[in-house]
Symmetry: C2
Amino acid sequence: MIEIYLLEHLTAFRQYGTLSEAAKHLHISQPALSRSMQKLEEVLDVKLFERSKNRIGLSAAGLLAADLAGRILQSEEEMITAVRNYDRSLHTISVGYCAPGPMMAFSPQITSRYSGMMISSEMDEEEALVHGLISRKYQMIILSYRPQQENFLSIPCGTESLFLSVIPAHPAAVYEKTGVSFHDMNGETFLMAADVGIWEKIKAEKMPDSRLIRQKDLDLLKEVVNSSSLAAFATDISLRLNGPDYRAGRIMIPFTDPEATVHYYCVCLKENEDRLNDWFSFLRNQIPQ
Amino acid sequence: MIEIYLLEHLTAFRQYGTLSEAAKHLHISQPALSRSMQKLEEVLDVKLFERSKNRIGLSAAGLLAADLAGRILQSEEEMITAVRNYDRSLHTISVGYCAPGPMMAFSPQITSRYSGMMISSEMDEEEALVHGLISRKYQMIILSYRPQQENFLSIPCGTESLFLSVIPAHPAAVYEKTGVSFHDMNGETFLMAADVGIWEKIKAEKMPDSRLIRQKDLDLLKEVVNSSSLAAFATDISLRLNGPDYRAGRIMIPFTDPEATVHYYCVCLKENEDRLNDWFSFLRNQIPQ
DNA sequence: ATCACTTACGGGTGACGTAAAAATC
DNA sequence: GATTTTTACGTCACCCGTAAGTGAT
């Protein structure tokens, strides 16, 4: 059998054209590479190179060999990542979220429910979440719609509603306490978090003229909001999670548009149904359909 | 990267179940194999084995790894044979024949025409010849019919006609000098060569009741024929190649059935047309269409 | 006691780097 | 003279086998 390092040397030589150049990139000496090529020819018992005194190049057979070697190397890389990913998937549950609200709400609960496991949480675009679920990057994803794929299992897992958060002196707090529309507030300047997932699109569509002042650090955002007269956002989830003093001194006014309430769905592959059954039945009890 | 020998050790362990047994078949010591498995785990950084003090078995991840390793090893084997075969095909021309006549006639001519090359000649069933041409086992084949494949190039390369060879006292020599039919001779006992390729079928179909006495060694056959009163076969090709004294003292009577004359076609893949052009144009001149 | 695996230790193969030579540009 | 390849030589890594130890049947 031919050892892998010889195949690596061969493909590097094909890639870089000369032994010297290839040796540099392989971090070995040039004579070492020369010997590798000789050994390869010896083991295969095939002339892989056209040699002149000062020059070496691949023969037709060598070109074929380098080609096939490349494929084998790729198979090996794939094997390594496949085994690592598989092993990881046995010990960790990767959850992809489309918005920060459910991530903050669910991730501690999932963590405590699967105490032996590593739980990793991540936010991404919904399209990427679906692909990630299929490619087993995620074992579970939270979407703002119910996907239709045959091999997906999905159940509703709650809603999140958006509120306007303003100081009592703000016109909206004075005149429209029962509700505002996105149209009303379009053009207003908002303080808001940097990473809001699915809400991003809603802002862009419904309040295209608003200026948004971003703050990544949520604790810092809270301070800035409390010491400012600018408008901000809140949701029922963020209010519930952060306790009553979260936006003390501010008035919360619900947005009245239907888009201001998002319905979330928890989705996994049917093949993982057993592993995640604990969590799904918890959701089923928590949020009756 | 993971060296091949580690993958071989892993697959051997899966195959034989215990380290001791696998080590035997690998012709290495059992501790060496134990270390290989440890190294594999270390490099992959994945628990591949379930270990008790006295027992070792593959984990789920290990099973996956062994599976993928097996595929990689197979790819490598395929690479080695592919490169060797390709190299061989650059230096040798393998010709497959459906009958001994054209083989004896052509193979010396091909050999002298491609002096630098190794020429290998072989007889086989026509179906096998076609498959062998496609799989590049043969670069050229001689068939008794013109194949219709798109990527084949074929030209007529002569005919071969069967003769009855009998002593002058034989009834056929006395009464039917101008020609005999297979039907006439069905039931006759013949001396003949062991390996006659395409002629085999014709005998089986047209003279099913004849007894055939086989002789592999052709020189010996010639002697036996010349000292016997039994009927034998000859063809125009064998007569031409062996010279006038070949069947001295015997009468040659042509078979009159149409099946007694075979039309041969020389066939190659179109992709090899250039390499074989010399030979094909020789045939075109020799045997005008 | 035997079997199966791991750890410990010493040895030899071979892959590597450095140095030098030959050839080409 | 600079670049590229090959050969020569010494070194070191590492893979192996033997031997010894541990635990299970």
